[in-house]
């Protein structure tokens, strides 16, 4: 029932023996204490657990750890480089793109993938990109502005 897997998480190689049923999100939160990736629904609907696997935004509650064997994973903790915030992290701070902040890591990770493929998005495109991330508090409005802030900064 156990498998040995190796996943590169935020640039660091992690080898662990996992049960078949262990979810990637639990692997990150429980084994690696990377608790910035949150669980909001556990059924792939809310987007709070969004991370990057091999460069793409995916929901880590719907992936088994075993399935991520050999993959490169980036979590919210791995987004800032050398202490400098990613433009998206800066944007969510400057534009008040958060309230309780529980959805924020997942939204930032979704947006980071999106901006890789569309560096100069329209507001509508940003909203489409966010359709898999639920925010109960803050109205999405400032979240869109935060992503626009980051896009502008990344293009400058």
């Amino acid at each position: 029932m156990s498998n040995e897997i190796t996943i590169s998480v935020n640039g660091k190689s992690e080898t662990h023996t996992v049960e078949g049923r262990e979810l990637l999100v639990d692997f990150l939160r429980e084994r690696l204490s990377l608790t910035g990736t949150h669980v909001g629904c556990d059924t792939s609907s809310c987007g709070a657990c969004t991370i990057h696997m091999n460069g793409q935004a995916v929901k880590s509650c719907s992936i088994l750890a075993a399935q991520a064997d050999g993959a490169e994973v980036t979590t919210i903790e791995g987004l800032a480089s050398n202490g400098a915030l990613h433009p998206l992290q800066e944007g969510f701070n400057e534009e008040h793109g958060l309230q309780c902040g529980f959805c924020t890591p997942g939204i930032i990770m979704t947006a980071a993938d999106f901006l890789q493929n569309n560096s100069n998005p329209t507001e509508h495109e940003i909203r489409e990109a966010l359709e898999g991330n639920f925010c109960r508090c803050t109205g999405y409005h400032n979240i869109v502005k935060s992503i626009q802030y980051a896009a502008k900064k990344m293009n400058a």
Binding site: M1, N3, E19, G20, R21, D42, T43, S44, S45, G47, T50, Q56, A57, V58, K59, S62, I63, L64, A66, Q67, D69, T110, D113, F114, R127, A129, L130, E131, G132, N133
Partner: protein, 337 residues
């Protein structure tokens, strides 16, 4: 989730040898020994999380070499079983030649799930009927003795079927299937003896009155390896519309795909398919007849839309689906005209 072991299949042959059951059979008659396939794994994990199936082994087919290619030539479109919805959405040939398919794929699930979900997994996913998804409701599809949704006083059936709904009233979950059926796509299946067969989608889905335990023909060792779609004629026009309660990420209340070969404003070939209308995606044959070899005008479009709903038997809470389907069928016909 129960404890299960994880098997990484190295080839199609390896995979079909490992597997001994389908998700459907395991739901209907649990074996306790099931080894089942997963590709993107979203739907399988949902079912395991709810405790609806308790597999002994999950066989991962996601990394089998050769199943992740998408190509287009004069013979049409070939989509490997493991191609993700995101890859289909981004494919140029799909965008330009299969507009209705592109539209359906782009509105399936969410960006993160489209990055994970594969086309074969999308087609083989089980219904989202909330009774089916609840381990506390043993319905027909799970070997139980009733359809909870159908009950005229207690059933919560606003999302359910209006056509072919005599026994189970669930609707098929995949809206991509609606579009693929309209393009008359087919599924390549390999069985446990490594024999391959090509099955048109029109024969792939299984209606409840044929067999309520399943939604498709897949047998225990069957693995989908490829989806193929014929090349559309240059005069082909297509339409797809999915009606939802909210624009972001939502399950279909009614979706319609139309693929038609037009000669001027005359319709020479047409398929009209309906999703979220019946337990499986269905063709509206009678409606097609109204416009076939005719000019599509307002009056014919209206009549075709009416005819498509002629046999509808709405349940206690879903009669709104009739005007909804009518309006989008009509709009679709007028758009391709």
């Amino acid at each position: 989730m129960n404890k299960f072991s994880w098997y990484e299949a190295k080839s199609v042959e390896d995979a079909v040898k490992q597997v001994n059951n389908t998700v459907s059979e395991e739901l209907y008659l649990p074996s306790g020994k099931a080894a089942i396939f997963k590709s993107g794994g979203i739907d399988v994990l949902d079912l395991v999380k709810e405790g609806l199936i308790q597999p002994k082994t999950i066989v991962n087919v996601r990394n089998i070499p050769g199943l992740n290619k998408i190509s287009f030539d004069d013979n049409g479109l070939r989509i490997g079983a493991n191609v993700t919805l995101a890859e289909i959405e981004g494919n140029e040939a799909v965008k330009t030649r299969y507009a209705a398919l592109h539209e359906a794929v782009a509105h399936a699930a969410t960006p993160q799930l489209r990055n994970m979900s594969t086309i074969a997994g999308n087609l083989a996913q089980r219904t989202r009927c909330w009774y089916f998804r609840s381990s506390d409701h043993p319905c027909f599809r799970k070997g139980g003795d009733k359809c909870f949704a159908k009950h005229s006083e207690t059933g919560q059936n606003e999302n359910h079927a209006i056509l072919e709904n005599d026994r189970c009233v669930s609707v098929y979950a995949s809206s991509v299937a609606t579009a693929l059926l309209a393009y008359q796509g087919s599924v390549m299946i390999t069985n446990g003896k490594m024999e391959s067969r090509q099955v048109p989608l029109s024969e792939f889905f299984v209606a409840p009155d044929q067999d309520v335990s399943r939604e498709n023909i897949l047998e225990p060792n069957d693995l989908i390896t490829e989806i193929s779609v014929p090349a559309p004629d240059m005069n082909t026009k297509s339409y797809y519309s999915k009606q939802v309660q909210r624009a972001s990420y939502d399950w279909s209340m009614a979706d319609v795909a139309i693929v038609a070969q037009m000669n001027g404003d005359t319709c020479e070939k047409i398929t009209i398919t309906l999703g979220a209308a019946a337990p499986i995606p269905i063709r509206a044959y009678e409606a097609e007849k109204i416009v076939l070899n005719k000019k599509i005008n307002e009056e014919r479009a209206t009549r075709a839309a009416k005819v498509a709903m002629e046999n509808a038997k709405p349940l206690s809470k879903n009669s709104y689906k009739l005007p909804l389907f009518e309006s989008i069928i009509k709009q679709g016909l007028l758009e391709i005209a």
